[in-house]
Amino acid sequence: MNDSPGRPTSVNLTLVGRSYAPTETYRVSAVKIAEMAAATGASHPAHTDPAAARELGYDDVVAPPTFAVVVAQRAEQAYIADPESGIDFSRVVHAEERFTHHRPIVAGDLLRTTVHVDSITERAGIAMVSTRAEIADDGGAPVATVRSTLAVRGEGR
């Protein structure tokens, strides 16, 4: 191993500040909400039973608290899978994630997501890449903000 601690990674530092416009309108389905609930051990009836959801004041079944990652990660691909980003996904570890819900996500929502590259810092051969996915409804009203930081290891790390 010829590992220099300050060696730069392949990540393109010049993309900080870039935004990626929505590439699709994501339709939230009751089936996907139920799948995510089951995959995260969530058995609250409001995830699967519209009547239970309405009792809590929702128009239809409500998504679990981290559901927005499904929508955000699809949108983040516009940046991460772009060869210009210089991100080798086999060298990526998820470092941080944060959701801010402007309102709960429910079945039937039509969501459009803009991804922003907020910061990239490189230290000791690891690039910390922070993105922000702004998820809005089809009328443009904010639904959720998803902040994600990936650690990308450079060669030899």
């Binding site: 995510m36 609250h44 409001a46 809590l56 470092a95 902040r147």
Partner: protein, 136 residues
């Protein structure tokens, strides 16, 4: 939920992680990175075996918060740092223990901050895990 004060211990919840759960999470989330289901690939990239999606761990911990709150839509803000991967053996399973206590109370906003501890196999797997929950 009035009368909550900083330091109150709210819940401890245990989840069982096995390979079937990781496959289920992969399908539900759309994250099909093979390090979460393929032992060979996981070892090739230097891991000790197949690891859980960090987001699966974060999602399970969110469930503990939402169940305590009684309303999954009451979690208005939720962030974590992923500190250690959870290696999920086959055959076998791993227990994830999630505890929550009150970290802050904002009476004006009608929210509390729940500070979470998440441990698997005796190791802390989430840091700075905090959920802001609407209480009215």
């Amino acid at each position: 939920m009035s009368g909550l004060t900083v330091g109150d211990e709210l819940f401890t919840r245990t989840f069982t992680l096995d390979r079937a759960l990781l496959v289920r999470y992969a399908g539900a989330s759309g994250d099909f990175n093979p390090i979460h289901w393929n032992e060979r690939v996981a070892r090739e990239v230097g891991l000790d075996g197949v690891i859980a999606h960090g987001m699966a761990t974060m999602g399970l911990a969110a469930t503990a918060v939402a169940e305590w709150a009684g309303d999954p839509g009451a979690v208005v803000d939720y962030g974590v740092r992923f500190t250690r991967p959870i290696v999920v053996p086959d055959p076998g399973e791993v227990e994830l223990e999630v505890s929550g206590k009150i970290g802050a109370v904002d009476a004006e906003a009608g929210t509390v901050r729940v500070d979470l501890t998440a441990r698997a196999a005796g190791v802390t797997v989430l840091a700075k895990a905090q959920a802001v929950v609407r209480t009215r």
